[in-house]
Amino acid sequence: MKDDSFVHFFGKFFPESMTLAVILSILALIITIPHLGAIKQLELISTGFFDFFSLQMALILWWMLSAVVIESEIVGRLLDKITQVVPLEEKYIISFIAIFSLVIGWINWAFGLIPAILMGHKLCLKAKEKNIKVHYPAVLFASLLALISGAVGLTSPGALTLTDGTIHQVAFLDLPTLSITEFALARANIASFAMMLVGVPIIILLLTKKEKTEIKDEESIIQKNIRNTLKPLEIPPKEEWIPANYLEYTPLLSIIAFVIGSISIGWAWIQSDVTMLGVLFALMMVGLLIQKNPATFTKKTTDSTKWAAHMAVPFLLYGGVYALLSESGIYLNLAGMLETLPITGSYITAFITGLIVPDPGSLWLLVSPILSEAVEITTSVTLAMYASGVSNIWLGFLFAGILSIKGFDWREYVRYAFTITVYVSAVVLICHYLL
């Protein structure tokens, strides 16, 4: 049978990020031929990633630890409770999921994306049980909005890399340090986000078809309830424990680590700014606590590598591409081309790159030399992160695929994605021109 789901359809045509990284590397090698000697080119593509080990690890952990915090039994229980208070009516479900995904996603991508998808599924199933028609595609699309807000919010990877001198001074050549509040509370960023928060849920409601496509039981990724779905490990009954299990399954060790860690990071944040490594440390500690015991934490961290798989190895090639374009001076040439339309040009450059590079942090690494020359640093990172988020909406199949979601008809997905792309892009550009 023909599979028209967007996860299958886009997956069929769109190459994996590793393939795109290889193509990007080959292109970078070709365009730098006039600027660099052959051996220098090969050296840079082979060893360019040497400067980025810290950044690479930080970005991998950004994906992994965020998921570790959310994909837990405790969070699952909380989400089950939240779904009990949402009215089972289509417009409420779509609005709730869209706003939840955007607002909570603004705190962290995983906090918005994963719960919104799971709650959306559960609400659609509940509505179906009660014979209430809910258009599942609209709900699923609404839950993916955290891909945008996660890139532009409090834990935006692009902005976080600029908070940490230890990471970005090695990685990026001359970029200044930027605090996360300067970024998140920048007028253009706040205004864009507010317009998005108001407009996007309405647009999705308007786009919702009158003929309803309900969720099919086999499409559901929920086992009984969200709590069970997010439970990483079934702890055996105490009678079956072997002596080693008493340490592995005790919450005590996790709690002690969390308490010490909280004091430590709390003290650090009182004395100085929030940094990327500080955020990752906090996520690690919260993950330890929320997963209840070390065994579950270990299991979940192993499982959460699936979220970082799209960038862990391709990043080696991104490093090479960065080195080639920096050394050849092509970055400066590209920045010069944006002189006439710096804001629009920066946004479009980042958007196109974002279609090839799904990871917002890696995208920022690649485009920062161009954008930071064209516009000032806060504007450049904000534009890059919005563009990354919007381009990731087109790569929604990648993230939905990680959660084994099949999706809905690709034509309808394109309709949503296109409209949201136009709206958000217009909002972001207007806000940046006006503010």
């Binding site: 599979d3 393939t19 992994m64 340490l247 192993t302 590598t305």
Partner: protein
Amino acid sequence: MSTIRKISSFFTKFGKASSDWVQKYLPDAFIFALLLTFATMILAFIFTEKTVFEIAGHWSQGFWFVIEFSMQSSLALITGWILADSPPVKKILNKIARKPSNQKQAILITAIVGQLLGLFHWGVVLIGGAIFARSVGIAMDEKDISVHYPLLVATAYAGLLPWHQGLSAAAPLLVATPDHFLVDQIGSIPISETIFNPVNIILVLGLVALTIVILPMMAPDDEDDIISASKSKLEGARARGGSNQQSQHIEDSSKYKEFLMRNRIPAVGLGVLIWVYLTYLFITNPFMEVFNINIFITVMFGLGLILHQVLKSYIGVLKDAIKGASQIIIQFQFYGGIMGIMAWSGLGELIAETFVEIATGETWYLFSFLSSGIVNFFVPSGGGQWVVTGQVLSDATQAIQGAETNLMMIAFTMGDQWTNMIQPFWAIPVISIADLSIRDVMGYSAVIFVFSGIFMMIGTLAMGVLL
């Protein structure tokens, strides 16, 4: 019963007993990372003048102390894993696996392949070794030759024994880089003084020879004692380990995507370009001076691309490889935290001073070996262990008259690899590929632990006395 059989029987029983004990009482490595953290905090509080808050601060400050090294180690494993799981490597292994004509030969050939892979790369031996043992099991089954499968897999795992004295030795490769975390203290030490030091080469060759001799001796003669892998297990193994295996995760791709994924030009082309540079690098510079962990990653990355030939195959093993590195990604940061407390509270210095009082120039390498072996039991990653103890050992070496840092490192690497034979952390990928339990394997590797321990103790003592 012959004397050799008596010894063999004794150690098989001893190995099983120790394996049972380990399986019952040894918790996950992450527990040790946490317990060591707390223990270090308590020791720092008791023996230094730091307050609780200061120690907590040292922990979070130090937490990211080795973030760079954790990425280097993860990449070393990931790229090695990908290489070992490439069709040509599996094809060669499968071909060699068909050679033996009896049980002893099967174990001997697995031991030789395992030791060679271990000398080459720790990630490759874990995956390649396990795949090879499985292939031998399949081949012997087809030839109707009874082979004790748990011993076969334990033999492959024993290939990890010489890894830290081999080409992928994490700590020696790290200290060869120009900007490693202890560079201010010990400088950059080229691999000619560690991995390719004649002392190291002699000791590792002795160790390899000893292992290759002992392993076949443990093969049970009595048919009743031989546990062959079940038919279904072998069939499952055959499905996963076949040389022409391709990933099934990318199905039903469009023609143009298939063209990209199955075309050899992108993967082989890029891999060859990387190797052109590496060849140029090795021709124009002394190998010993330029080879370090970063170059090692490049070597493995380029080879992986070439040997997988097409991106479809490369991407197919990527996810498993990253999953395999998950605990390095997480636990190394905790080791960094321990190091932070040790370094900034003054505890490390204190421990080093204590070592200096106890050890002499003659006994220091033996001491380093034993301490490294003990710590490895708790911090199973060789690189992670260097992070935790490197500074203390280096401080002590510099304070002990006649002791040399490069020789201390050789002793350290021997201790680290030694207790891997009774610490199940690294056996996890091996047993999952072989479809066995830790209990099946650890008994036999415990025997290797005993014999190799005696050999390495003598070796490190001789280093102190003779050099």
